[in-house]
Symmetry: C2
Subunit: 196 residues, 2 copies
Amino acid sequence: MLTSRREEIVHAATELFARQGYHAVGMRAIADAVGIRGSSLYHYFPSKVELLHAIASDSTKRFIELQLADLRPMPTYAERLRKLLGDHVTYFHAYRLEEAVGLRELQELKASAPDYYAELQATRRSYQDAVERLIRDGCAAGEFDCADAHLAALAILGMVNSVNDWFRDTGRQSIEAVAAAYAAMAVDGLLGATPR
Amino acid sequence: MLTSRREEIVHAATELFARQGYHAVGMRAIADAVGIRGSSLYHYFPSKVELLHAIASDSTKRFIELQLADLRPMPTYAERLRKLLGDHVTYFHAYRLEEAVGLRELQELKASAPDYYAELQATRRSYQDAVERLIRDGCAAGEFDCADAHLAALAILGMVNSVNDWFRDTGRQSIEAVAAAYAAMAVDGLLGATPR
DNA sequence: GTCTATATTGAGATAGAC
DNA sequence: GTCTATCTCAATATAGAC
């Protein structure tokens, strides 16, 4: 599964950062989890913050590329957005540790590595813009009913992003069921895609 | 404004924790912000984590008491929920630093002070339950249209909680306008309170 | 690529004078 | 209630052997 030592390190750091927070985890703890000495980590990453960047950046960029590529081939705006949001929730669940680190340690990245922060924010922004455009187009086409596409995009993204805060695999519903339900609440409910 | 030195300390710590994160801020930095020495802080708080608890607990409990007290006197469930959610957004904005710390450092509290964590989670849970009950009652009364009141409550709370992530006072809309718009998207949109 | 050894800095917290 | 002085520990990171 984990082919390279580098991947092994990123994986261990992701788990520790997600569980305890970036500053609460020392390089020694990461090294222990991998079975090497602290100093050996510096063979793979020049600093701790580069490790954080690798975690936050890799999964976010992969996610957004996937989502934006998938945006095109659908008959209606409603179906397009429902699929996008459902995939959003399931991806966020699959990479919940990475997303937890990426979201929670954003300001740490902003303070310690401003370039990386700006880059990441730009990537996120392009995704938010794509969702907003999709909503705007759906409104223009008469599929959606919404007063402010910008606000609606923010509200819906806030909604789907929050699933990881409460969802547990041990609960009564699968992540796929929750993903479908959230997509329906957003598209058919909030945006009124299905006439009532 | 800040009557006691204790309040002054809590206020300074809130700002610093919100901006830099709990572990990134030392007791010395908090003391500097107040104009005393680091050791003097221990006259008011026995440890750093007690300070965190004071920040997270005070504002959360005050908020939830306020909101639950306000729940009763309204003619319809829709109006009741619209008011609750609007107040939620404006309160969260007024106490955005405290809420940022309370939400982001939850796991720190869980690790360092499990009792405080459990207490705080129970308080939050009672609020979530109240919102869910309100939605369920509104559904039973035929005012709302929703498949799963539990999921709807989680989705709506995720939505209103996310406003602080993007809202800035320098933007084009006031917080009151955003609060009203979010309440409408939740109640009239997601829950379909207004017939379309 | 991993190790030992270490430099350097700052953390949280305490003792006890005033 | 605030101070000075200090304890103890752990942090990130580097140098250089193997």
